[in-house]
Amino acid sequence: MGKERVAVVGIGQTKHEATRGDVSVAGLLREAAGRALADAEMTWSDVDAVVIGKAPDFFEGVMMPELFLADALGCTGKPMFRVHTAGSVGGSTAIVASQLISAGIHERVLTVAFEKQSESEAMWALSLPIPFTPPLHAGAGGYFAPHVRSYIRRSKAPDHIGMLVALKDRQNGLKNPYAHLHEHDISFDSIKDSMMLWDPIRYAETCPSSDGACALVLGSEKVADEAAAQGRQPAWIQGTAMRSEPTLSAERDTVLPLGGALCAADVYKQAGITNPRKDVDAVEMYVPFSWFEPMWLENLGFAEPGEGWKMTEAGATALDGDLPVNMSGGVLCTNPIGASGMLRFGEAAMQVRGTAGEHQVDSVRKAVGHAYGGGSQFFAMWVVGKDKP
């Protein structure tokens, strides 16, 4: 018994929009899953098991929706599994799916993550008052703004860094046909002039609410070798890691969470990464509010604490920089919450496979996918590469 090798052999996603009124939840998932299966040159019957992830069920108003989706996702008579780990869920779902193969249980696993936010109102679904529990007033932005302010104070970062991130990600999103936001007229000034929502987070520095799904087909070494033999580059999973820490704990540093740093250290060790800045060619990280780019650059070891914003300012994280970050446009362009983590993992795999189209970075050998959730307390990461681990 050991760990079997696993690779991403198929990737699919929906066109993400504020309201995908043209499809049901099942239709949305089948759009992504069908594309992933087609990409893997497989059909539904080739799949051994399906692993589904999404954020809170209140977002669609269906309790444990995987149950009603079972037949739409071809699960009849098969194992179907549902993961929910808050905002990191898209990433952790892919990791749970990969473990079914690395443990030697299955050969081909379809994993799908989604959110159809138009079915409800996420901000208020997050704000239900619970006795004796600190309220998450006005959704995630109100919760994270103090973390950002703390980061700015500690790092002495200039005010415009957040706006630079927003501009870069929204411009990257223009190259991604699946992205929700395509803001052709975006400019530094238009971001600067947009409404301040949660100081210092402006409207244009905030992720949208999206309907969307992402699907990955994961295969064993044998399955991936067959794909490679037919000229379809697998994205070999070189490491996976998850970490969780408490919401409320005096020891926590929410600006530079220990859980995130440990998660990164774990996954780098597995992937043989000793110098992340040098060894990693591209990163898709979970940046729902612009300032989280410099914060996560530091947390994931790409910059020293307090120095991440300098990478952003110098253009290092641009598509043509030395460490491109959020080539797809990231969460700032597309945020179907439950799928957002898997979209990060999927984009990392696309970069490795060379299938990212207009937002493809040249010669990516190793890419990092990152997701986080809760109050910056749940972390999921993977490293994918062109080479077998």
Binding site: E66, L67, A70, P79, Q99, A125, T247
Partner: protein, 352 residues
């Protein structure tokens, strides 16, 4: 597969309503009891996985506050499923197969009392076709019971025997919610609740929590005299739509039983997650159990049925009976969804 065993199990006493405690306060005694039994703390655990649902807690991300109480500092390797804890145990078992860690904590909990459970469960149904009809879980189970009776495979008297035996066995279970010694005839003399189901045919509505510690190989042997080894574990699902299924059989249980190797040895005890009496009869056939298997010595789900937890409790009840030498080999089953839609089967065995 790597040898993994259940080495401890704890549950809270099942109650109709636990209004004086929140979920965290209700769960914590079970978690700490399970850890204390094997002289562990959260620092000794390699991976933690839990099962619960936001729809019963009435808040998004409800599992986050229970995780806080487990004390995940320094940060831990952890995951959560919006499923019964039996599936959380499955994820932990998979993780243990990778050989990187030797121990795992699994827990599950739910308070059904704040809402109207059969109505809440209607929100599991297809939101476009069936959900708007508010078809409640008991009525759907009654349709299944009717189909079983009409097929001639079972009678109301057979169902009554399940009810009488389960509630009588529950007298020996200190955590049971419903326990009494009444004959099958007494049960048949009661009125229908939703025909052909009588109230006694239905599981109670329960608030409760449970926790299990898993360990691999020598770690398990070092902690307990007789670990309950997981010899096989598998789960399968069927369409939710009742019209797409033959409700008188459980095809998914049958497949899972085959994969888990139920028939590879004698089954001394089966702990079946059958929230309605007729479902035990369907499961018994699907699992291929003979009359030499003792079914639900704990009283089963008819004695206590905490949502998201009762499946994990089946595994824990069986493991306890194997570890104390009452049984050598047994089957534990968990279910989810209307009319036995999704099923998990585990085979546990003690070392000879």
């Amino acid at each position: 597969m790597r040898d993994i065993a259940v080495i401890s199990f704890a549950q809270t006493p099942a109650r109709r309503s636990v209004p004086e405690l929140n979920e965290v306060e209700m769960l914590m005694p079970a978690v700490h009891d399970a850890l204390t039994q094997v002289d562990m703390t959260i620092d000794d655990i390699g991976f933690t996985c839990s099962g619960s649902t936001d729809y019963l807690a009435g808040t998004a991300f409800s599992f986050v506050s229970t995780l806080d109480a487990v004390g995940p500092w320094p940060p831990i390797q952890e995951s959560h499923v919006e499923m019964d804890g039996a599936w959380a145990l499955y994820e932990a078992w998979v993780k243990l197969q990778l050989g990187e860690i030797d121990t795992a904590l699994v827990y599950a909990y739910a308070k059904s009392s704040p809402g109207d459970l059969p109505m809440v469960l209607t929100r599991q149904l297809d939101p476009i076709t069936v959900g708007p009809l508010w078809a409640d879980s008991v009525s759907l189970a009654a349709l299944q019971a009717r189909a079983l009776l009409d097929s001639g495979k079972a009678t109301e008297a057979d169902m009554a025997e399940v009810v009488a035996r389960s509630r009588k066995d529950a007298l020996g279970n200190p955590n049971a919610q419903l326990a009494w010694d009444r004959s099958a005839d007494d049960h048949l003399a009661t009125e229908y609740h939703i025909a052909p189901l009588r109230k006694g045919d239905c599981a109670p509505i329960t608030d409760g929590a449970a926790a299990i510690v898993l360990a691999a190989g020598d770690v398990a042997r070092s902690k307990v005299k007789r670990p309950a080894w997981i010899r096989g574990i598998d789960h399968r699902v069927e369409p939710i739509h009742l019209g797409l299924r033959d409700l008188t059989v459980s095809e998914s249980t049958k497949i899972a039983a085959g994969k888990a190797g139920v028939a590879d040895g004698k089954v001394d005890i089966a702990e079946l997650h059958a929230p309605f009496s007729h479902q035990e009869l369907i499961l018994k056939e699907a699992l291929g159990l003979g009359d030499d298997t003792t079914i639900n010595p704990s009283g089963g789900a008819l004695a206590a049925n905490a949502m998201m937890t009762a499946g994990l409790i089946r595994i824990g009840e069986l493991a306890t009976r194997i570890s104390n030498g009452e049984a050598d080999r047994g089957v534990a089953h968990a279910t989810s969804g209307p009319c036995l839609q999704q099923n998990l089967v585990t085979v546990l065995e003690g070392e000879a």
